[in-house]
């Protein structure tokens, strides 16, 4: 038989305190939720007010374009392979933009990360500088750099490539330096004890530890950059996005061309995602086996 002990004043106090604390916490959470919902709803209404078509109008039309596109592509389905073949060089350009900017950006990001990690940096005084430059590279949207470079260099793949590479450098610089912070410093000390210089310590002590992570992040970045390079093409930087915009401006009657490009783009993105996730999986498995 459990006996109910008379609650001492102390326990009552503690219970009261706990309950009031949890009430207050719940109230704060509730207020936060209400404020957030109010912001969301009012933002929604503002967006709807400033939009050309309202939500209901838009949703009634949302399938019109895909339907037109699909019916036209279906009727002229014989043309699709030819259109796809014609757009293929542009697709290669888009993939090239993504790949080159990923490579260059990751190399630059590696340097920024090395220069911005405590304990690994060659010049510790420059750590804040390296970090801030990575932040700035990351903050500037690609479209800003791309448009300015298009004005100077003219249209084509290079402005997009540089723009994406700069952003990639900033983003990877941050991710890589987070990887670098987890580096085990013992191999570095061992190398230092046998007289290795900074470059040898980094090459032989740091890179073997961080490489799998670097590669995995770089593959993820490649997936992002494929999309970015397609989208930048749409604002004038060459590649499949540019072809798509041209096909779209021709409008009805040329939708089979647009459909072919849509299919090509979709297939490429899915393919790159699949290959990259397969490679990332084998990287993590390989590391687990060691």
């Amino acid at each position: 038989m459990p006996t109910v002990l008379p609650a001492s004043a102390r326990t009552v106090d503690i219970r009261e305190e706990y309950l009031s604390l949890s009430r207050r916490k719940r109230m704060y959470g509730g207020i936060l939720l209400v404020v957030f919902l109010a912001m969301f709803v009012s933002g929604f209404r503002i967006a709807e007010f400033r939009n050309a078509a309202s939500l209901s109008e838009g949703f009634s039309r949302i399938l019109d374009f895909p339907r037109d596109l699909i019916t036209e592509a279906w009727e002229k389905s014989a043309n699709l392979p030819a259109h796809a073949a014609r757009a293929f060089p542009a697709l290669v350009e888009t993939v090239n933009i993504a790949l080159v900017s990923t490579i260059l950006g990751c190399i630059l990001g590696t340097l920024l990360a090395l220069a911005g990690t405590r304990g690994l940096a060659r010049w510790p005084r420059l750590i804040p500088l390296a970090r801030r430059s990575a932040d700035v590279c990351r903050a500037v949207p690609e479209i800003v750099i791309a448009l300015v470079l298009i004005f100077i260099l003219g249209g084509g793949p290079v402005p997009a490539m540089i723009a994406i590479a700069i952003h990639t450098a900033g983003a990877q610089g941050k991710l890589f330096s987070e990887v670098n912070e987890n580096v085990d410093l013992k191999p570095l000390e061992g190398l230092a004890s046998v007289g290795a210089n900074w470059w040898q310590r980094t090459w032989l002590g740091v890179f073997p530890q961080v490489m799998p992570n670097y590669l995995s992040y770089s593959l993820l970045r490649l997936e992002i950059n494929i999309r970015a390079s397609a989208i930048l093409g749409f604002v004038g930087a060459g590649g499949i996005g540019y072809e798509l915009r041209n096909a779209m401006t021709f409008g009805q009657g040329k939708f089979d061309q647009a459909a072919a490009i849509f299919l090509l783009l979709f297939a490429t993105i899915v393919l790159v995602d699949q290959v990259s996730s397969w490679m990332r999986n084998s990287l993590t498995r390989g590391r687990g086996a060691q």
Binding site: G43, V100, D135, V144, G154, I231
Partner: protein, 440 residues
Amino acid sequence: MTAIADDPRQQALSAMRRKRALALAAPMLVLAYLAYVFVAFDVAGLMQRAKMDNAVILLSDAVSYKVHVTRDNRSDALAVSVEGSRRATYPEDRIPDWIRQDGDRTLIELAGGHSVTYDGPLVSYDHPDFGPIRITIADPILLELPQPGPVPDFINASDARVVVTTAAGRLTVTRTRADTFRYFWGWELFFFDLQSRFHGMSAGALASAVAGGERLYAEMPNWQAVVRDFWTNSIWRHGDVFFAIGETALMAFLGTFGAAAIALPLAFLAAQNFTPSRWLRFVVRRVFDFVRGVDALIFTIILSRAFGPGPMTGALAILITDSGSFGKLFSEALENTDQKQIEGVQSTGANAVQRYRFGVIPQVMPVLLSQLLYFLESNTRSATIIGAIVGGGIGLMLTQAIQTTADWEKVTYYMVLIVLLVIAMDALSSWLRRRLIKGE
């Protein structure tokens, strides 16, 4: 005996050889690929075709402005305007003091001792090192140089038009008009346009006017008038720019949180430990994959056809694309939840809703929130680009300003604002991450 001893050694040596070959082959492969792209992108040709003078225009225009002093040769009317804009033409009683009018004669002082005089049909450019250059408006236009010899490089003359370009300014004379440009550092009329009564006030004078000077406008106190004149500045349109920035942030906000709201319930259907039906899971997961695979670009195009330009279109484009990514991330987080905590809640007699609320949500909340906040920051950047495509927000203003290729100071202004917005979002999201997840 030796065979046994050699074997591991040989193995180690060949492994090292393989590694060394790989360490050499990978960079070579990358280099070969870069060389191919160098050719495929025609980088060499591009370097030649690059318009470096455009870069110079861009850089100088981004940090300086010019004032046009234009005389119509037929009516003798003088107009002084910033960047030749009609909205920024000085009224006659407030013409800057470096322009002096004396009857028909107009003296324009340029920097470094240069000056230009309009005097009837005679226009002269006084160059301190070269001497006075006299141009008479007739048919054809007559050019007299102070020194005999060939026409120097800084003068470009034909029968119909003479252009003198120096570091101090630029004079263009045609039969119909004479036009002088004087360059100044900075962004012109950034705070107040010429219509505002606060234009030309020093910071101190402005402060004392706001603090309690005489009302410059009868209808409202000075501080309100200052805000209004800044807000409605006809050249820089700060009000419109502010709304455009707001639209971009709104797109990111609505898109990110809307996507999370849609993805969270669906993620339960895709998580192994919450949905026993293998088929349902398969279908929901393939839907996520499809939505992620169809790029944001494709959604943006489809949506902008249905919804027209505006922030809602951009928000929906972000919302749809991200709901696929969130669905995948959230369902992975849900699969990693610990069943014990849920059982513990269940043992107290909790119903299904309470089990989710107290058993599941507290476990996945940190992961969810941190993903959400990362996406919020990166979507602010995407919203700029999507805005340029659908026609809304600061992205649209930026592309328009770049396409007119005239107002690089405005392009710079928008760029600075975009970067500040992204940095602010970044700071906000990392602050919230610290507060909400680590509970500091």
